[in-house]
């Protein structure tokens, strides 16, 4: 493997367990991730599927009671072995994060400019004035109007879209190599969503960022991702290049997700397709394939064992025993 294609993020068999009552709940069970510099991976799934937990594990942001298993390598560092001080140096410098709701992710009683300066000072040991200068550059870069004045704003004095731009500026303050985005557009208006996505794509090209983008919105994932990984009940059930997964969804869950989108115009009497049932309780997951109880193509084998990764085409895999049978069903989306 040559240096240009060496992954910058590599997680193997990642597990995250949370203490709950007397036992443990496994929120993420055996996730593999691999991301090259400049690449965007969308983690797609409904709430509770473990996508945010996976994301936070990459930064070890979980409370101490949570146990992270497997291996995480980011930019050549073994993240799970980092000492507390090395971990602090890694967070915000090598990897930084954009949160879902920038209204909650900024400290409400500090000026935005100072919060950016604080980060730069922390990682580069520069003066406050120097840090604020960086803040100004970034505010200009993310196209916040009258940036000089906005640096002195408190979070509540900005609109949601502008706050998310400021959050992106903060995340990029120390030129990270990897950006983790936790549903960064979910809390925004639809028109602002597109602006933020376009900005992120533009900045990614400029900075050569690798982005892990968590979302439950397929439209957003298609807009920004090179690759998509669909998560269900703590596992990646299907992953591949964005185009492959969308054009040729192989796992029944992915098919269900795509079918539950409104395609073009929906007739007045047509009903939107919904996946029956609800996601499993992680404290008592069903045996075998977690999607089994909701799946139309369920056979007894599905409950016996967790399905292994099956290659659909090169770089496109799905965890399902019934891929062969499903593939024979002609054009599943058109048939719906």
């Amino acid at each position: 493997m040559n240096s240009t294609s060496a992954p910058i993020v590599e997680a193997r068999n990642l597990t995250v367990d949370f203490a709950a009552g007397r036992g443990m709940i496994r929120a993420v069970c055996g996730v593999d991730l691999s991301l090259k510099p400049g690449e965007t991976l969308a983690l797609l799934g409904e709430s509770g599927s473990g996508k945010s937990v996976t994301l936070r594990a990459l930064m070890r942001l979980h409370p101490k009671s949570a146990k992270i298993g497997g291996t995480i390598q980011v930019d050549g560092e073994d993240v799970l072995a980092l000492s507390p001080s090395a971990l602090r140096a890694y967070r915000g410098k090598t990897v930084s994060m954009i949160f879902q709701d920038p209204g909650l992710a900024f400290d409400p009683v500090y000026r935005i400019g100072d919060q950016i300066a604080e980060t730069v000072m922390r990682h580069e040991g520069v003066s406050r004035a120097e840090g604020r200068k960086r803040g100004l550059e970034l505010f200009e870069r993310v196209r916040i109007p009258s940036p000089e004045r906005r640096l002195d704003n408190f979070p509540h004095e900005m609109s949601g879209g502008m706050r998310q731009r400021a959050m992106i500026a903060l995340a990029l303050a120390c030129r990270p190599k990897v950006l983790l985005a936790d549903e960064p557009t979910t809390a925004l208006d639809a028109t602002v969503q597109i602006q933020v996505l376009l900005l992120l794509r533009e900045l990614q090209r400029e900075f050569g960022l690798a982005i892990v983008f968590v979302t439950h919105d397929i439209g957003v994932a298609v807009e920004i991702a090179d690759r998509i990984a669909v998560m269900y009940a703590g596992r990646i059930v299907e992953s591949g290049a964005c185009r492959d997964v969308i054009r040729n969804p192989s796992h029944p869950y992915t098919r269900g997700l795509l079918a539950s989108r409104a395609h073009g115009t929906l007739g007045k009497d047509e009903r939107l397709h919904a996946i029956p049932g609800s996601p499993p309780d992680l404290s008592a997951p069903p045996p075998g394939c977690a999607f089994g109880p909701r799946c139309d193509n369920f056979i007894e084998t599905c409950a016996a064992d967790v399905p292994p990764e099956v290659t659909v085409t090169t770089g496109h895999m799905a965890r399902c025993f019934r891929l062969g049978a499903l593939a024979e069903q002609a054009e599943p989306l058109a048939a719906e």
Binding site: R88, R91, F99, D107, R122
Partner: protein
């Protein structure tokens, strides 16, 4: 900022006016004539009328109020009926004593309250949290005059370490900052600090726990901030609310505690109020209440102004 402070100051004026009316009327609402207490039982009606005229009690209430207010503006709160000394000097001395006691109690109560609150908030559910919570709940719920008596029994009567009553040796009427006087202030100060300590510790614990569960704390960690940096942010976020509670508590403390000052015979405003009530010493009672009430008003003003500087979300103007 200055404009806001001035604006708040203007708002204070009607409050102060109301306070003065309440102070004035309060005493007149109480049953019984203030003069009967000091008049001999066999005084003739003519003598009683003469005394009333001398103290101005024969005039209509609004006139009495006007005269009283006029004198108050000139720093004259009248003379104590019981001792005959000017109320201003009596109240002044008592305020001084109460201030000293309150300052020490504040230092102890706020210091330990904040400390316990932070420890409990940071280590929620731990043994430390439960210990700190126990101490603060005891502080709030144990009657402080009872606590005072227990302190006297243990540290004065049984152990003989500290004196039980007074502000200084030989019934000293004023506290002075020397070692001998310091021994006298310890017990009342600790007793007095119990309630504010409990209240502040509970408040700070709830604040810290709430702030730590907010997403921005995780965001701070996500950008590589250490625990000390996070702590500074937590303090800054907790400060406005904690300060408001502290301001109120400081007001209560400065007002002096009738119960505690009586238990320890501490010559402060609470003790003075107690004396004035039992002796039906009207001018003294009025004067003391007025001074205390104005204290509260002034303190709230300071807290209001400080809060807006600490929490930008509170609108100015």
């Amino acid at each position: 900022m200055l404009l806001y402070a001035l604006q708040r100051l203007v708002y204070v004026l009607p409050v102060a006016f109301g306070v003065s009316i309440v102070c004035f009327m309060l005493v007149h609402l109480a049953p019984g004539d203030p003069l009967t207490a000091i008049m001999p039982i066999d005084a003739t009606a003519a003598q009683q009328a003469e005394m009333r005229a001398a103290y101005g009690f024969d005039k209509p209430l609004p006139v009495q109020y006007g005269l009283w207010l006029w004198k108050v503006f000139h720093g004259d709160l009248g003379n104590s009926i019981a001792s005959g000394r000017p109320v201003v000097s009596e109240v002044g001395r008592a305020v001084g004593n109460s201030l000293i006691l309150a300052s020490l109690a504040t230092l102890i109560g706020f210091g330990f309250g904040t400390f316990f609150g932070f420890v409990a908030g940071y280590f929620r559910g731990s043994l430390l949290d439960r210990l700190a919570s126990l101490v603060s709940i005891l502080g709030v719920s144990v009657p402080h005059y009872w606590l005072g008596m227990v302190m006297v029994i243990v540290f004065s009567a049984l152990l003989g370490w500290l004196p039980s009553t007074g502000a200084g040796p030989g019934g000293s009427g004023a506290w002075r900052p020397d070692l001998e006087h310091l021994r006298y202030i310890i017990l009342p100060a600790i007793t007095m600090s119990a309630i504010p300590m409990g209240i502040i510790s509970r408040t700070v614990r709830a604040l810290v726990a709430d702030i730590l569960s907010q997403e921005f704390v995780q965001a701070l960690r996500a950008k590589g901030m250490g625990e000390w940096d996070v702590f500074k942010h937590v303090v800054r976020n907790a400060a406005p609310t904690a300060l408001a509670v502290m301001g109120l508590q400081l007001g209560y403390l400065l007002g002096g505690s009738i119960l505690i000052e009586t238990v320890f015979a501490w010559p402060g405003t609470g003790f003075l109020l107690n004396t004035a009530i039992f002796q039906r010493d009207l001018p003294l009672l009025q004067g003391t209440i007025l001074v205390l009430a104005l204290f509260f008003v002034g303190l709230n003003l300071i807290v209001d102004v400080l809060q807006t500087t600490l929490d930008p979300r509170i609108q100015r103007g």
